[in-house]
């Protein structure tokens, strides 16, 4: 990497030359930072490394995950590793998904001015403002669908002029949708009953008592289910 091209970036205002073509996270470590905050799964799933940057000559702030975004020349960056967002408690079973419960628990969604700043801040390219509008209408399915890829990094909430905590609203909507509109399949209930009645204990007793050669033979004889088109 040392032989390749270098890119100049600014970490919290200070200039560093880092190898071209690496992520912001790797670049910060290259520069000498050792993370405690601001690094988590390092694969784009946990939301620990939300990063804000501006490029030379631009006035606009941009948003990214440090572990996924590559460095660019003249990038001025800082991390926002924590979001002080409140989350009201609720008992899922006692909520009525037909009423507008999202508005009840998160009344600030009514303050949405449709500025779309949240959407622009989302490193997952989620239509954040659209799901807040769906939340206002009480459309749980739409919120669940639009917000599904949310990693809860909190960048939306940090940008919102109405102080909406989008990702908590979406989490509540998905859980409510999950329990109310996406019922458990029948075969799961059947299996649970069988397990409660101990229907498989004898088979398992027998397998646990089977010796190694017996197990190997049984394993080799397994019938592998063929994937049907819709089943897979």
């Amino acid at each position: 990497m040392e032989n390749g091209k270098m890119t100049q970036i600014y970490i919290m205002g200070k200039a560093y030359d880092v190898p071209t073509g690496i992520t912001i996270m790797d670049a910060m470590e290259y520069a000498g930072y050792r993370f405690t905050r601001g690094a988590g799964c390092r694969s784009g799933f946990c939301g620990a490394c939300g990063t804000v940057y501006r490029k030379d000559g631009e006035y606009r702030l941009e948003f990214a995950l440090a572990c996924q975004e590559m460095v660019e020349e003249g990038m001025h960056l800082t991390q926002l590793p924590f979001t002080p967002a409140p989350r009201p408690p609720y008992v899922l079973d006692e909520l009525d998904p037909r009423e507008n419960v999202l508005l009840q628990y998160y009344p600030e969604i009514a303050r949405c001015v449709s500025c779309n700043t949240c959407t622009k801040a989302c490193p997952q390219d989620i239509e954040v403002m659209d799901y807040i509008q769906a939340a206002l209408r009480g459309d749980l399915e739409k919120v669940a669908e639009l917000s599904f890829d949310c990693i809860q990094c909190g960048l939306c909430a940090m940008r919102c002029p109405a102080d909406i905590k989008h990702y908590h609203v979406a989490q509540m909507a998905r859980r409510l949708y999950g329990v109310s509109a996406s019922p458990e399949p029948e075969h799961l209930k059947v299996r649970l009953n069988e397990l409660r009645e101990g229907a498989y204990e004898a088979q398992l007793d027998e397998l646990v008592a089977t010796d190694l050669d017996g197990l190997k033979a049984r394993y080799a004889e397994r019938q592998i289910e063929v994937a049907s088109e819709e089943g897979s």
Binding site: G4, K5, P19, T20, G21, I22, E29, A31, G32, R34, F35, T36, R37, G40, C41, R42, S43, G44, F45, C46, A48, Q68, M70, L92, Q124, D125, A144, F148, D149, I151, Q152, Q171, R174, R175, L176, Y177, G178, S182, E184, P185, H187, L188, R191, L192, L195, Y200, Q203, L204, V208, L215, K216, R218, Y219, R222, Q223, E225, A227, E229, G231, S232
Partner: protein, 555 residues
């Protein structure tokens, strides 16, 4: 878009890699018609493993010199931490006035820890008497990164017994039977629990969309797009927040405490930001600290989160808990081999269970796509280094193609983007559209197959110390199947939480002590181990040498 050294890229790939992609495209229709190569026989599996799997290289491991599992074989990188001195000198801290006093202390912030916390509460421990402490944030963990799915034998043509046989065969019959039995028996119940918490699994017409994983004989992989781990973790974490279980973040445990009876009695925590220590007394302790991926065994890149440094293993071992199957490491067959910026990150097995097959530089398939992971990995390594039919990247890493456009060719246009949204986004960020072009992959360090030995109730050898999730050993034997890690953290997180709660109601620790740590350090000294190595590691250090060499320690 240009690459690392400024070379021009076409659809994310340099021109010379495009030549190989053209061969993959040229054979695709035929490969789709013919179907994948046949699965290996037991003998073929054994051969490719012994010749090519990294676990089978004898010089990369050694026998542990000290402790309750003295003589246990493990990779040098892991043994180096077991054979290391404590960070906190016994006697250096006053343990007589604990800063916090709880009934159930849970070490960890991932799936197993969160499940244990919720079930300790279910078992009647008051919310405020449970404490989760974690090194990073709540949810910064491997559990949240799992993509492909969770196994549970819930369909009519399936049963816990069939699942049992798949797990045991995949693990080379080395798993502890009572643990596998618990794993397969609890699966459907925990999927049901997720449903009741509001998790959204993939369904069609009211039925789960269930698929195969490597080494399964029935389709029992439940998924939530390719965000399965994230969907489960964020729902479970949200419930922990909802009921108000206290969580202290950025405060890893650095040593376990025992009382005079040798029972687990709490832990010493370290505040990563203020550098203070904190003493916690607890009636029962749950170890849910995850695995060791960040030790980069044999120099492999890893899919693991930043904190996967084996801390829990080290602490439990010093306290007297034996370890099992520590010689076995899971290399996920398909880590990202290109582009270098995301080297080693996970390309989920779901890509293969939806139809993508591994293909060599000449465009030919060479392995059944859903072998158990160790076999699939060994076959890919053999193709690159034994048969020399890999593709060399600009960073001089070899890989094989994962022919992702096959997914839409089989299931219809739009399927990949819908079912594998995270994967599509990951490569698209680097200019590669995996619906049009294949992705280059090579095995990556993924999972600690073994760990602290537990029984079916999540008990370790140390009374009052329980374990669940990746830190626990015995469930998967020498090789874990896809979809059994999410299942493991749920099954054994729950069992550890319930057992810890029951223990905590009946036991109150005596005087907190570190005599076990002192005794362990003495054993290290007697074995002639030099005092410079300290553990737990807490975090890896990725700063470059040039910076570290000029570092002044003045503040």
């Amino acid at each position: 878009m240009s690459g690392q050294d400024g070379t021009k890229l076409i659809g994310g790939y340099p021109a010379y890699m495009r030549e190989s992609i053209e061969k993959v495209v040229a054979t695709r229709a035929r490969r789709l018609q013919e179907g994948p190569p046949a699965a290996m026989t037991a003998e073929q599996r054994e051969q490719v493993l012994s010749e090519w799997h990294p676990d089978y290289k004898a010089d990369k491991k050694r026998d542990l010199a000290v402790g309750p599992s003295k003589g246990a074989r493990m990779p040098h990188e892991v043994a180096d931490l077991f054979e290391a001195y404590p960070l906190v000198e016994p006697g250096a801290i006053d343990l007589s006035k604990p800063d916090l006093d709880v009934q159930v202390l849970i070490l960890g912030g991932g799936g197993a820890a969160s499940v244990a916390a919720l079930f300790a509460r279910e078992e009647g421990i008051p919310t405020e008497d449970i404490l989760m402490v974690t090194k990073l944030r709540h949810g910064d963990c491997n559990s949240i990164m799992a993509q492909g799915g969770i196994q549970a034998a819930d369909r009519e043509n399936d049963s816990p017994a069939i699942h049992y046989l798949d797990v045991l065969g995949g693990g080379h019959y080395t798993n502890k039977p009572e643990l596998v039995r618990a794993l397969v028996s609890d699966g459907p119940m925990l999927v049901d629990w997720h449903e009741k918490l509001g998790a959204i699994y993939d369904k069609a017409d009211g039925q789960y969309l269930e698929a195969h994983g490597g080494g399964t004989s029935r389709m029992r992989m439940h998924s939530a797009k390719d965000y399965t781990g994230m969907e489960l973790m964020r729902v479970i974490r949200d419930e922990v927040r909802n009921v108000g279980i206290p969580v202290i973040e950025f405060a890893p445990a650095v040593e376990l405490l025992l009382d005079e009876a040798g029972h687990a009695a709490g832990a010493i925590l370290y505040n990563l930001e203020t550098e203070e220590y904190m003493v916690v007394r607890a009636n029962a302790t749950v170890l849910a600290t995850g695995g060791f991926g960040r030790l980069h065994i044999q120099g492999y890149p890893t899919t693991n989160h930043y904190g996967a440094t084996a801390d829990g293993l080290i602490m439990a071992y010093r306290a007297g808990a034996r370890v099992i199957d520590m010689d076995s490491v899971q290399y996920h067959p398909t880590g990202v081999a290109y582009p270098a910026a995301i080297l080693g990150q996970l390309a989920t097995e779901k890509l293969r269970n939806q139809g993508a097959e591994p293909v060599n530089a000449d465009g030919e398939s060479f392995v059944y796509p859903l072998e158990p992971r160790d076999v699939e990995s060994a076959a890919i390594i053999r193709e690159c280094y034994g048969n020399d039919r890999g593709v060399l990247t600009p960073s001089e890493i070899r890989g094989v193609w994962l022919d992702t456009p096959m997914i839409d060719a089989i299931h219809g246009s739009g399927t990949l983007k819908k079912r594998l949204a995270a994967m599509w986004m990951m490569w698209n960020r680097h200019g590669i559209d995996i619906t049009k072009d294949p992705a280059l992959v090579f095995p990556t360090l993924h999972y600690q197959n073994g760990g602290v030995e537990i029984d079916a109730e999540g008990r370790t050898d140390v009374p009052g110390l329980f374990a669940g999730g990746e830190v626990g050993g015995g469930v998967h034997g020498k090789n874990r199947l896809m979809g059994n890690s999410l299942l493991d953290y749920n099954v054994f997180g729950r069992r550890a939480g319930l057992s810890a709660a029951a223990w905590a109601k009946a036991h109150r620790p005596g005087t907190l002590g570190m005599q076990h740590v002192e005794a362990y350090a003495n054993e290290l000294k007697s074995a002639g181990i030099a005092p410079d190595r300290k553990a737990p590691m807490i975090l890896p250090d990725y700063r470059r040498e040039a910076v570290l060499a000029r570092r002044l320690d003045v503040l």
